[in-house]
Symmetry: C2
């Protein structure tokens, strides 16, 4: 167990591997099977709804580009609408940014001393009502929060898509909205990496000082800890980004260690595994058959508990430097839900310009996209089968 | 690399994993290919000769029973001969104990202050001459060292078998004898385990005191270090037995950590691997699909250098408690050279009464037996093909 435990020592992780090497076969069955997908299908819903929660500056927009690409048709801002719209519309999926449900504009938040993270600055009643309507197949007039002006612009029409991606600070915060999600993902960036990323961006691009960056992060932290972070316990999949363990003392975030935590027992979601499902493995693919640049690549796979739920965990530390490294890794992972050999590599290459395309963030975002595509297809297929049965009866 | 390095920290091991995760593809080719088998075949030899070196009390006789069982037909003491004969004769293999080449009997060694480990107490000229003769297809009259009396008994006749197993203290000591070996194995028991085993046996069975056992080991050590241990650098395969790392502070040798070190580039010998050849892996099979008793089972696989030679290494720490654990592990190993599914488990079960049948010593001895069987078959096939070609010409 030592090999994996060494991997999972990040202070910010809530994932814990099993305490000993002993696990009874019956253990798996002790966890209840989630039936959100089938419940949604049974209710005759038309749109599959996916929630993606994360703090701002944590790569949600990159994730959305990867997801909509995998789901098919990509997604662009609505034509002829508000140029500051946060919505993306594609052939298959529509992305709605939950910032649009801010109930207080920037000035009002400032006046009341609230951050955008505070639930009191957001309208969950409307959020629930509109997501419910879309799921039922009805178009809605959704508010638009203008990030440039900080004002609430006139609403825009959102038609029910095949797949609705709800991204933002609070997709799993409100119990009613959470109940509408067919699948949920939490992007969990560790404090060290978040700090390194913000420094890279704000110091270079925005001219902030190191002290002011620290102050901004510290000011947001209480609300983040109170309202955003607790949502991860509801997520079906969590992507954790942690500092590398391949380079001692490295903390610039350029070589991340990324963990994909996958809840067991979620219908239509079969966790990805490495070599031997349900065992504990560490794997350094770099060797005789695959040459890697420093500091190499290391994978770990295992299982354990995450907020009391049984989970499978896949971890990648390091960076891909060459295409053959990525393809080599892809061929050794199972349950990827690809439709053809090399689809993960193809997706990563298509978006080579996006941040994280050479490391575990891009890899696991792409894999989550493939898993969601399969989940949606299965929900639709199941619904169609139920409809056909109902017609027969 | 940390996961495997943690595995390979035994003080007594000469195996070192690669220093970094970087290894050029061309590295493998830098090691010369050994051609001992083809050289033997080219010379038209009839008997395949395998050397097995180890200190006394290290399980050579158990190993011989496993080997002759795998090779086919087992092996028994010669009928109607000296009841103290050290030779075993079977349908396929004959085992010759190199103690028979002691040139000094017990009294003479005592008089000259020499141990049996000292080359001066052994007749390497005769050993070479007789192994050469057997390899050439001629029977020999081999001396017999009587372990009961400590005297040299009259010689016994040894006919050339298909496979000659030379087991003893010095099969790789003399350069000429070493040159006759088609494959060589060294059983390397770490000092901690050797001490634990001797205590178990001698304290319980022979009534020695702890102090006297320590004194006996210490007295043998200089000669062991000078004449026996250095042979391991010539071995094609080394079985190392080390203390477990699964139970902190455990040193009673009951749960061993066993390492199979396999030299690369040996003709007719394809090293066993776990999941992905040429990478670095640690694997705890116990988990969702396989339940294990405490302290569980842990495997490691990797590559590195051993006395300057490139090697692959498979390690097992822990014990099999149930048959399904053994079969599960067998199904995940590759290049086992089995002839049918489950042959390793079947062999282990057949000899369930032998020491080590529930741990890595029995597993790796059995695997080495399978590899030797295949190697011998390939040498014979190659020789037959060459003979057929020669006839045509």
């Amino acid at each position: 167990m030592a090999a994996f435990a060494a991997h999972t020592s990040a202070t910010s992780s809530h994932y814990s591997p099993p305490g000993t090497a002993i696990l009874l076969r019956s253990r798996r069955r002790a966890f209840p099977t989630r039936v959100s997908c089938s419940a949604a299908a049974a209710a005759g819903n038309k749109t599959v709804v996916i929630g993606v929660a994360a703090d701002s500056g944590c790569g949600k927009s990159t994730f959305m580009r990867r997801l909509t690409s995998v789901l098919g048709g990509g997604a662009e801002p609505p034509r002829g609408g508000n140029p500051e719209s946060n919505t993306l519309v594609g052939d298959t999926a529509t992305v709605v940014c939950l910032d649009d449900y801010h109930s207080l504009d920037r000035a009002a938040r400032k006046a009341r001393g609230l951050t955008a993270l505070d639930p009191r600055a957001n309208d969950f009643d409307l959020m629930y009502e509109q997501v419910r309507a879309i799921k039922d197949g009805r178009a809605v007039d959704k508010p638009v929060y203008n990030h440039v002006t900080g004002l609430l612009d006139p609403p825009e029409r959102v038609a029910p898509p095949r797949i609705l991606l709800l991204e933002g600070l609070h997709p799993m915060y409100d119990e009613r909205v959470r109940g509408l999600l067919d699948f949920s993902i939490y992007l969990d960036i560790s404090d060290e990496v978040k700090f390194a990323w913000k420094i890279q961006r704000d110091l270079a691009e925005r001219g902030h000082s190191l002290e002011s960056i620290k102050a901004i992060i510290e000011a947001r932290k209480p609300d983040f800890d109170a309202y955003i972070d607790p949502q991860k316990k509801y997520a079906d999949a969590v992507i954790e980004v942690l500092p590398t363990q391949l380079i001692p003392g490295d903390d610039d975030g350029k070589v991340p260690r990324v963990r994909l935590i996958m809840k067991e027992g979620v219908k239509h979601f079969a966790p990805v595994y490495l070599f031997d499902e349900g065992s504990t493995i560490s794997w350094i693919p770099c060797g005789r058959k695959l040459s890697c640049s420093y500091p190499g690549i290391k994978f770990a796979y295992g299982f354990g508990a995450y907020f009391g739920h049984e989970v499978s965990v896949l971890e990648m530390d390091g960076r891909f430097d060459k295409l053959d490294e990525l393809i080599y890794v892809e061929t050794h992972l199972s349950n990827l839900s690809t439709k053809f050999f090399g689809e993960v590599a193809q997706q990563m290459l298509t978006h080579a310009d996006l941040p994280g395309s050479n490391n575990g963030t891009g890899l696991f975002q792409t894999i989550v996209g493939l898993k969601i595509r399969e989940l949606c297809e299965q929900i639709v297929a199941e619904r169609d089968a139920m409809t056909a049965d109902a017609v027969k009866v």
